[in-house]
Subunit: 152 residues, 2 copies
Amino acid sequence: MEEVSKSELGYKIETVTDNHKVKVAEKIKKMFGHIDPRKEEYCPIRDVMALASDKWSVLIILYLGYFPVLRFNKLKKYVYGISSKILSERLKVLEADGYLFRTMYPEVPIRVEYKLTDFGHSYLLKLLDLTEWVTQYSDIIIENRKKFKLNK
Amino acid sequence: MEEVSKSELGYKIETVTDNHKVKVAEKIKKMFGHIDPRKEEYCPIRDVMALASDKWSVLIILYLGYFPVLRFNKLKKYVYGISSKILSERLKVLEADGYLFRTMYPEVPIRVEYKLTDFGHSYLLKLLDLTEWVTQYSDIIIENRKKFKLNK
DNA sequence: CGGCATCCGAGTAGATACTG
DNA sequence: CAGTATCTACTCGGATGCCG
């Protein structure tokens, strides 16, 4: 292992050993090493993950992990910038895939509540690890971008 | 905790306790609880993560975790369906953000190699957890989709 | 070989208006 | 309140061709 990445990018991150890398490669092989690139086979990463890891869906799931229950317009406020159209689209997809519940109360005016399923909570655990990593290192990434631009 | 999700969706997933959920909520609060939805503040999830978690980038990073070094056209073969244009775009962004190295050998014909930085390997660890989860439960998600369609 | 330039079509998303 | 409908703008990505 070429020591820490300090020499590489000017900061210190958690060390990833060669042994780690080998294990990671094995896991990846298990995941889709059997997929033949020449045939267009079914691939969960392409089919399933793209949906639940897009910009809006991530924010929706995170806010539903923050607040146990949210109504449509509350959610729209938190996920600022999203339109009604896109929000309802994403919610429908996330509901279909099993990440969240939609409960409608036929009052006047109507009330609709969204909350994560246990399946959604399970997904959130993994997603959160990733977003925490991203948040933790976002300053570094911004720095990297600047340096890269300068070298161009 | 309302027991397992068996009753909920017809299968068993790892249990997420109420205690878990509270801790998760706290983590999320730390991450972006301070962001005011009314102002359009800087948010790492929107700015940084969207880039590295898009469909193509995920596949690129995974394949570079599988094979320590890959040349442009090899990568293009593995990430089947991607065009040269998109691949070089993504590679440039991922290089700029610090996930990977690009090494050019000015031979004839030219040779260019891509490999993950240690920073990229660190990201891959988290990403892999997520993709493994998705792979593990993709059948369930496909099932959920079918059920959902039938109920419409 | 590893791209970039150009063109172009399709899908996506925003704005706005409207409804049960 | 929680959406849907419609229209438009725009981005994304695919195809092709060219070049160092």
